[in-house]
């Protein structure tokens, strides 16, 4: 540069953080694992950059490499990380301490585990302030910590600093963590999935707050997320990672509207929040590549629109006035009633899907347990295919169970790790004494085929399978007794987007093929748009609104539903226009 520009513009045009050919390696018993394989990118002062990827893409590893806090045996094996022009890869722990907090702040993913349970919240904030020399003297530090928490949106901060983390809700803890991250006015804030553990509505307020705070403090923001919609909505620049490499990077809108790399195309095709947009705008976007994979969320959703005519079919399941009251121990001796499910009623026509939507604590999972006969209702009635499920004898209930089967949320807890896949799928047949050993084995093979898994799996154990494959096995087990109704309790919530799309596709195919009725319980409205024919929204134990999917999405009547809809990330992005 022969003609240097003025100081201010030069600062603005020089990257704050510059990553060059970064490689991160983890040493394990089975050899080295290259989690990040030579990536380069820049973050400029004040800008918001998002790294998007599935689990295992190396996005979180990249984030922790920037502050040299790689977990376990991880180390930077090649490349440079330049922070304000200074390579940090060779710095000592002491030198890094001066960069962490002061230059680069960090907001972690899980608010439940990221605050030390034995220290008060105020102590943990003050510690951050003191370490970075932002204030000195007990009084100043105290005042500063309260100010920081107030900025992070924590009401009544003076009193709350004396409390302990377990007395805070998840959202409040995340605010504290944001306060800690921004406490020393860093130039860059790394936010690693800052809201994925929170309810959708809380998610939105936290992200809004994070955005306005970083803007105010003119800090750059590096957002790590699995959610393409959220990334595009919040960041001006996107970096898409897959298997430790950057596959595509550039301005958010451009990437979303004009993706070039096949992997990016795939991600966009599979993202439920973006798909719903496409249907509403009824714009025809085709991605040849996504077609070839058989995974296109938009098509899946469109199919539902076609056969919504069956809405008048006879009900497969009817729930009326279902109520569950628990008695909760208060302190020591008195107990008080807690109404988890409050007088809910709905019907699901045969062959269709009803989505029961709600945030944590809304009572949706309790409702599912009652319908599955795992929890006796306090009052109310459940009828499946005309037969009452409530108030029947034990043996009658046993027979009725085959008509209704569950798929649960956690792929890692839903299969008994000590049974082979074949034994797991055959368990319902065995319990109900269906067929002999040979016919049961044949049925297991058939079921594995139905969920698109190789039959060789029958003799293997769950620990060799990925999360998505485990959920397929759970679906196969649920189908073993040829049930009429399948209760899907957050069945895809724990899965990566591409796998999620694949499972949703499978579920849709099975529904058509076998005429199944689904009760789809979820917190994720974006997915609802794709899979459900009708929707029931739950809040605090009550159903506050019901309707067809279109009615709810286009014309929600209740404020709560509207808030939920607004909170879907990426909903406001003009796409493929």
């Amino acid at each position: 540069m022969t003609n240097p520009p003025s100081a201010s513009t030069r600062r603005a045009s020089e990257p704050l953080v510059s990553v060059r050919d970064l490689e991160v390696t983890f040493r394990t018993q089975g050899g080295d694992i290259h989690a990040v394989r030579g990536i380069s990118f820049d973050i400029f002062p004040g800008e918001t950059v998002a790294i998007v990827g599935e689990s295992g893409s190396g996005k979180s590893t990249t984030a922790t490499a920037l502050i040299k806090l790689l977990p376990g045996s991880g180390r930077i094996s090649a490349g440079q990380v330049l922070v304000e022009g200074r390579d940090i890869t060779g710095l000592s722990d002491r030198q890094m301490a001066s960069i962490r907090g002061g230059v680069i702040g960090y907001v972690p993913q899980d608010p439940m585990s990221n605050l030390n349970p034995v220290w008060s919240v105020g102590y943990q904030v003050r510690e951050a302030i003191r370490a970075n020399g932002v204030a000195s003297g007990r009084k100043d530090i105290e005042a500063r910590s309260i100010e920081v928490l107030k900025q992070a949106g924590l009401g009544d901060a003076e009193r709350r600093t004396k409390q302990y983390p377990h007395q805070f809700s998840g959202g409040m803890r995340q605010r504290v963590l944001i306060g800690i991250g921004l406490g020393a006015d860093p130039k860059l804030l790394i936010a690693d999935e800052p809201t994925s553990a929170l309810d959708v509505t809380v998610q939105k307020t936290i992200l809004d707050h994070l955005a306005s705070l970083t803007r105010e403090k003119q800090a750059a923001l590096l957002l790590i997320t699995h959610d393409l919609g959220l990334a595009a909505e919040r960041a001006s620049k996107l970096i898409v990672m897959n298997q430790g490499r950057i596959v595509e990077a550039g301005p958010s809108l451009e990437i979303l509207q004009n993706p070039q790399h096949p992997y990016t195309k795939r991600l966009i095709a599979a993202a439920p929040s973006l798909a719903s947009r496409r249907i509403q705008s009824s714009t025809e976007v085709t991605f040849a590549d996504a077609d070839a994979l058989g995974v296109d969320i938009a098509k899946l959703a469109a199919r539902h629109d076609d056969d919504s005519a069956i809405a008048d079919a006879e009900p497969a399941i009817t729930v009326s006035d279902l109520t569950k009251v628990y008695s909760i121990r208060r302190g020591g001796f008195s107990s008080e009633p807690l109404t988890a499910v409050d007088n809910i009623s709905f019907t699901i026509p045969r062959g269709t899907t009803l989505a029961l939507v709600g945030e944590s604590g809304s009572g949706k999972s309790t409702a599912a347990k009652m319908i599955l006969g795992l929890e006796p209702p306090t009052s109310g009635e459940i009828t499946v295919g005309g037969t009452r499920l409530t108030g029947v004898s034990r043996s009658q209930l046993f027979n009725l169970r085959s008509r209704m089967q569950p798929v649960f949320q956690d792929p890692y807890a839903s299969l008994d790790p000590q049974r082979s896949i074949g034994a797991i799928i055959a368990e319902p047949l065995k319990v109900h004494k269906v067929g002999d050993n040979a016919s049961r084995d044949a049925r297991v093979v058939e079921l594995l085929e139905q969920v698109a898994l190789p039959s060789a799996l029958a003799h293997r154990y769950p620990n060799e399978l990925s999360g998505g494959q485990r959920q397929r096995v759970a679906v196969a087990r649920a189908l073993a007794l040829k049930p009429e109704v399948v209760v899907l309790d957050e069945a895809v919530s724990a899965l990566d987007v591409l796998v999620q799309a694949q499972i949703l596709q499978l579920l849709a195919d099975l529904q058509q093929e076998l005429g199944l009725t689904y009760l789809f319980i979820t917190h994720d409205l974006a997915v609802v748009r794709i899979v459900a024919d009708s929707v029931a929204v739950m809040e605090a134990g009550k159903i506050v609104e019901t309707g067809t999917t279109d009615e709810i999405f286009d014309n929600a009547q209740v404020a709560y539903t509207q808030r939920l809809l607004e909170a879907i990330p990426g909903a406001g992005i003009p796409l493929g226009a």
């Binding site: 400029f44 897959n242 596959v247 550039g250 070039q260 169970r401 085959s402 956690d410 000590q418 003799h459």
Partner: protein, 314 residues
């Protein structure tokens, strides 16, 4: 440089081609918790050492005549009192003139038998108590847990002292095992209850009940097998501890009758001549220590092997 922010970078597709979504990749060997744990154990040299010691002591207990020609109780000649090693009697003699080596060999049977019996009794009471309390909860849990608390709150060594004092006419292997195991089960029940409480809330347990499997059958088939890790570890270590407890009781004179050959009795008898013939005390003590150590090490190794997190960290 500033345009770089607006660059639209696309990686060469040949190098970064996306892979099939969620394809099934199976290893060439079957793998589950027990198989993996077994493979892990077989890689650790200490495991072989511990197993060898246990087998060695087991062989002494089952076939003592393979190890010594000296019959158990006769052949003690006061003339040999506190004698040093000599041909055929490698470890010398006790104060009563008995062959130390032979007594160590014959004593293995008693010690090991007590250990095994205590473990059987502990498991027979502790496993049902802990599993039922944890799984069924409510009043059953309250009742069983309070009963457990009571047994837990009497240090089992003191309890055994009382039992053995009362039953002074019946000081045999079975009675001492009941005296120890009859109180040691409470810890096991606590440990298992805590584990069952965690496992019973896992989704595969709910799935099993949603299919219609009975509660009890679910407990046996899914919950118990997945709660056994801490039980196995506890019982392995308890076996060693029981051997020590027997020796201590015998040492106090409320253990086995003095006519029974056990390491504890030998140590107790040798203590009176500790200054003149310390080796008569040393050898049974060493046998006892090594045996207990072998079981403790086995317990530690099994704990490690059954914990995938610990395995990954190594």
């Amino acid at each position: 440089m500033s345009e770089r922010a607006n660059d639209h970078y696309v990686a060469p597709v040949e190098e970064t081609a996306p892979q099939a979504i969620d394809s099934v990749k199976l290893g060439d060997r079957k793998s589950n918790l027990w198989l993996d744990a077994w493979r892990d154990l077989r890689r650790r040299p200490l495991f072989y050492v511990a197993v060898a010691i246990v087998l060695w002591v087991g062989a002494m207990a089952l076939f003592p005549t393979l190890f010594t020609d000296v019959p158990p109780n006769n052949d003690c000649l006061l003339a040999n009192s506190n004698g040093g090693p000599e041909a055929g009697h490698p470890l010398g003699f006790t104060r009563q003139g008995c062959d130390v080596y032979a007594r160590v060999v014959w004593g293995a049977r008693t010690s090991l038998l007590v250990g095994v019996l205590v473990v059987v009794i502990t498991a027979a009471i502790g496993i049902p108590m802990g599993a039922i309390a944890g799984f069924y909860g409510r009043w059953i849990d309250s009742v069983l847990s309070r009963v457990g608390d009571i047994f837990f709150s009497i240090p089992y060594f003191l309890a055994a002292v009382v039992v053995m004092s009362v039953l002074s006419q019946y000081r045999n292997v079975l009675v001492i095992s009941v005296a120890i195991g009859g109180f040691a089960w409470a810890s096991l029940a606590r440990i298992l209850r805590a584990e069952v409480l965690q496992v019973k809330n896992l989704e595969y347990v709910m799935a099993s009940e949603a299919v219609g499997r009975s509660r009890f059958s679910t407990l046996l088939r899914h919950v118990l097998p997945n709660s056994l890790t801490p039980v196995i570890v506890y019982l392995t270590i308890a076996l060693g501890a029981a051997i020590t407890a027997e020796a201590t009781l015998s040492f106090l004179g409320v253990g086995l009758g003095s006519d029974v050959m056990s390491w504890g009795n030998d140590i107790a008898q040798a203590q009176t001549s500790i200054r003149t013939a310390p080796m008569a005390l040393f050898w049974p003590s060493l046998a006892l220590t090594i045996t207990v150590l072998a079981f403790i090490i086995l317990g530690e190794l099994v704990r490690d092997a059954l914990d995938p997190k610990a395995r990954a960290r190594r």
